[in-house]
Assembly symmetry: C2
């Protein structure tokens, strides 16, 4: 019995955009979507009910962080991430590969795996693809990621070639080690900005992509135009009957541009991170709400926004909270920013289903101020 399936409901005739449904053991996901990030088994400051209220269909959590604290054994004893954090909708965990390379100190990579030091305690750890699958199975997310090597922007061709070799090797081992049919393993297409490598990486992944494939290594420092170019390249190469997940990308403009290039799933810490710094997404670009011009501005962040923050509080109040270091400020802006992206994904879906996505995208991008999209 297959517990995962994906169906395309409608394709945009003018762009690569598609509307679909991704069936998972914890419920259906209507794509395209944006997924809030709950790094440490919590989307910072928000309760599960609040996430549901703002329309979150699935959330993401980070294997690297949970492995180090509280430990996969604790989460497993709790009955898995869903029970531990009281979230009954789908969850996706990344493999931790990205964090091992970006957060931890002293790493030694070999064909066997990666040795690294915890950014918390400094303790040494060694992760293999098999160990990674074991950890992700203990965490119990619906969708899990292959352990891979993500290369940074500016990485040389030779480094990217080597990373592809390792990533392919590890993918095969992840696939063999992963046995639970309650979890779907997504291979990750790497290849940095090198088009021929990206093509090869797709070929590496296809045998292991059963119901979902991820695009990694983008939005790591390259220009947005380069990211869009890679997405244009990948769109026709990726299986049409599987969901495509663009990892770690989540500004409003990137969502619209990504969906237009056949991406179905996206995630990013951006909406909650900039919230904590006092910045809001709006349909016209960012609003730095901690600025003094908002001190006596008693309008909501956005007049026509249906989020809890906009329905109940003013810019002046939220500015006060942020400036006073009050948690509620970060909470309200997180709610607004997540709702902004989730509603945008839903609006894109409606536009695809209603056959007006191309116009929707053009209008959206015309009114969006890209100069206010540097987060």
């Amino acid at each position: 019995m297959n517990k995962f399936s994906y169906e395309v409901i409608k394709e945009c005739p003018h762009t690569g955009a598609r509307a679909g449904i991704f069936h998972t053991p914890h419920g259906d996901i209507e794509t395209p979507i944006f997924m809030p990030v709950g790094t440490q088994a919590t989307v910072k400051g928000l309760k599960p009910e609040e996430l549901k209220e703002l329309g979150a269909q699935i959330i993401l959590s980070n294997t690297y962080h949970l492995y180090l604290r509280p430990g996969a054994d604790i989460v497993k004893q709790a009955g898995g991430l869903h029970k531990f954090m009281n979230w009954d909708r789908p969850i996706l965990t990344d493999s931790g590969g990205f964090q091992v390379f970006s957060l931890s100190g002293l790493r030694k990579i070999s064909d066997e795996g990666v040795e690294f030091r915890s950014h918390l305690s400094g303790a040494k750890h060694f992760i293999t693809p098999e160990k990674d699958m074991e950890i992700q199975e203990a965490l119990g997310a619906d969708i899990i990621m292959a352990f891979d090597q993500c290369t940074p922007a500016g990485c040389s061709y030779q480094e990217a070639v080597e990373a592809r070799r390792i990533t392919k090797l590890w993918l095969e081992r992840c696939y063999k080690a992963h046995t639970s049919d309650e979890q779907m393993l997504f291979p990750i297409v790497q290849g940095n900005i090198y088009e021929d490598l990206r093509r090869e990486c797709v070929k590496d992944c296809l045998p292991y992509a059963k119901c979902g494939i991820a695009i990694g290594g983008l939005s790591v420092g390259e220009e947005k135009s380069v990211m869009y170019q890679i997405l244009d390249l990948l769109n026709p190469l990726l299986p049409k009957d599987q969901p495509r997940y663009l990892m770690g990308v989540g500004s409003p403009d990137c969502l619209v541009e990504g969906y237009a290039r056949g991406v179905d799933m996206m995630d990013c810490v951006l909406p909650t991170r900039i919230a904590r710094n006092g910045t809001a997404f709006t349909k016209k670009g960012k609003m730095v709400i901690k600025n003094a011009i908002y001190k006596d501005d008693f309008r909501p962040i956005e007049d026509d926004c249906d989020c809890y923050a906009c329905k109940h509080f003013s810019r002046a109040y939220i500015r006060h909270l942020i400036n006073a270091g009050e948690m509620l400020g970060a909470e309200l802006l997180s709610i607004h920013n997540l709702r902004n992206l989730i509603k945008l994904a839903g609006d894109c879906r409606k536009a695809i289903l209603g056959d007006y996505f191309k116009d929707f995208k053009e209008e959206y991008m015309a009114s969006y101020d890209l100069s206010k999209s540097n987060f």
Copy 2:
């Protein structure tokens, strides 16, 4: 037309406890009560709906903090505190006197008022009783406090005598300056631990107590037994037909002991402050949830607690959140701790109405571990 009134519904025949109703412009308050503190126009981390869900009938906010940031003019422009923070139930503001003496640097006190430096910017400010009334009227709380001089524990008799003289002088000026009939001004009984001064202070206050009187200068460092002694002394001296507010006191044992001595209203930052440090109130004393013994304890904080945190999350999860520095941990413990005190106040009220308060108090205090009440 009098917008405030208080009625005693029932008196305990064995103790000083009373159950009553305090009618205010923003609704009725069933006493005895505990009032959550929202220092900077927000109870740290919680939304108004969450406060209502846990049974908060009234909240407190701090004039000193709001005067400095965002400024009383901003709150007034917003339409007052209720609108600014989206709280439609009663609000009480303190006078800021306590904070001027405890938080700010360099203060010069004279009969005219107090000069002090902002703990935020270092800027000089001068507050008189008239100015204080103006600020509290701009904030627009239902219940406002007289500007007073609160003396610390260990203060000499002579200092307490002088503080009484100033407090009396300022009370008269507050009373004259306060004109709005939308707000009830509470005089504050000071006098430190000196019984004859406490008696004199009651006499100073009585002419100005129209529907409420506050007891200040307790829980500032003295032994609890000394506080209870002062409350025993004051109980027969205070008007029976007005609510009595014991300022800044709020551990579970102090609530029960305070209500038993005729106190109707209490407030404290304790429940939310210890929450942020990872400590929970329980019926048996404090639980330091960040301790390692809770790492795989999947029970709720308290089995029979009806709060949101206990209904949905385990000790292990909350411990993880606190240890990982996640806001949700402080939020959940704040909800639990506030619910603990508010339910305790409600249980005391039921016991008074049901004629079993004396037994209730004895049972509660017998099972409460006072050695776990050092917060």
